[in-house]
Symmetry: C2
Subunit: 253 residues, 2 copies
């Protein structure tokens, strides 16, 4: 049985708490946050704590905190033998290097509070200062049934950037598509099967093979017609992504 | 029983032929293409024709052709009473206005030859010169079990642009994500659950609500760290989409 304390009360902490409570080999001893009012949602599930001096003993402390808060919070564990990990894609492991046992437990997924997540489908990127601690993190990931990847700090930073491209930026393109629909009295529903198929294709094709459209075809007439319909930032985005597709696929207009 | 001839041999024509052959109320009389070698894949399924003078009689002729070929091919039908439709998102219906009965049958989906499609999940955008012809197109769509939308030429052009944003451009972002993985010795597999969740979220949330990430949070430190890792066009894309997210959500850095 691995004993855990989760520090944080954001989207990741919330989903992690629920997943840990369901996992048979994990015992969640406490959830910590410095703001008592943020702990209200956890009170019925688990012991809560808003004073860091009152933290319970545990094998692993998971700092599911904002990037800026990791370093300051970690200072509290300087004399601890426990394994302390952060969960951030963008923060190097070395911010914890003043501790005895440390690492990173980075679940590569997008978390919204209102939407349930299934950890068995979330790749967890692990890094640690020793093989022994890495094994502990693997046990934790296995208990959550999560796919495991060993990823060093440099790789994780790159992965975090890649995640922005495939998730944040794609979702924003969906927002712009929805806006175009609205401006033309069309329901966004009409685009959803296309969006679903865009990602479903990746089961069979890699994205390079799956690419279609006027930029790939070098269809200058359609590109110009589209640009004439777009103003402002949408026009800039259309131009730049068209240029990027042409570059990427080694074609010239 | 609606009798059809499909003109074209590309991805859409190929999938449309298969769907029509399966539909109980539709009879596919012929597939036409001016290049006999492009018809080889159809020979075992249906009568083929490469001379436009030899076209069979039908109720509806579907011009599943490249945008540039629609107008020239349509000239052949100037004295015909049959309903002639094109399938293009970017071409106005009026290019067929010299015909007696005409319209548009635009399936809003991305088609790759190697990937099966299910027409019951493809919104079909219909437009026609008369109510009677529109009804015929509705019957055709119903026979394919496709969801039906009445969409005029201006709306369809906008929809075509929106489709480029949500499909072509998103898929390209997936390509860039895959490239970042490769450059860092990481398998693209690691990003797939995130990509799947990005679109699955839209079942519950609209894309504005589903947005997450450093641009939305105004997290300048992470944005700068990401930009320092990116060169060339990826750097430009990161900057522009970050700017667009901030604009769209009405936030300032």
């Amino acid at each position: 049985m691995i004993q855990l304390v989760i520090l944080g009360a954001g989207n990741l902490a919330t989903h992690l708490v629920d997943a840990v409570l369901k996992a048979p080999n994990l015992q969640l001893k406490q959830v910590y946050n410095h703001r008592p009012e943020s702990l209200k949602a956890f009170e019925n599930k688990v012991q809560v704590c808003s004073k860091i001096e009152d933290l319970a003993n545990a094998d692993i402390y998971i700092l599911a905190l904002k990037d800026d808060a990791i370093s300051a919070t970690a200072r509290f564990f300087e004399n601890s033998e426990a394994l302390v990990v952060h969960t951030s894609g963008g923060v190097e492991m070395k911010v914890l290097a003043h501790l005895r046992n440390y690492g990173v437990f980075y679940p590569l997924q997008t978390f919204s509070r209102s939407r349930a997540v299934d950890f068995s489908k979330i790749p967890v990127c692990l890094e640690s200062n020793s093989e022994k601690n890495l094994d502990k993190l693997k046990q934790l990931a296995i208990s959550l049934q999560a796919p495991i990847y060993e990823v060093d700090s440099q790789q994780r930073k790159s992965l975090h950037v890649a995640a922005v491209f495939v998730n944040n930026f794609s979702n924003h393109l969906f927002s712009l598509g929805a806006e175009i629909c609205k401006e033309n009295q069309l329901p966004f529903e009409i685009l959803k099967p296309l969006i679903t198929e865009t990602t479903a294709k990746l089961e069979e094709l890699n994205p390079r093979e799956a690419q279609t459209g006027p930029a790939l075809r070098g269809d200058q007439k359609t590109i110009e017609s589209h640009l004439s319909q777009l103003g402002g930032t949408k026009n800039e985005i259309y131009k730049l992504l068209t240029k990027s597709i042409i570059e990427f696929h080694g074609k010239k207009l």
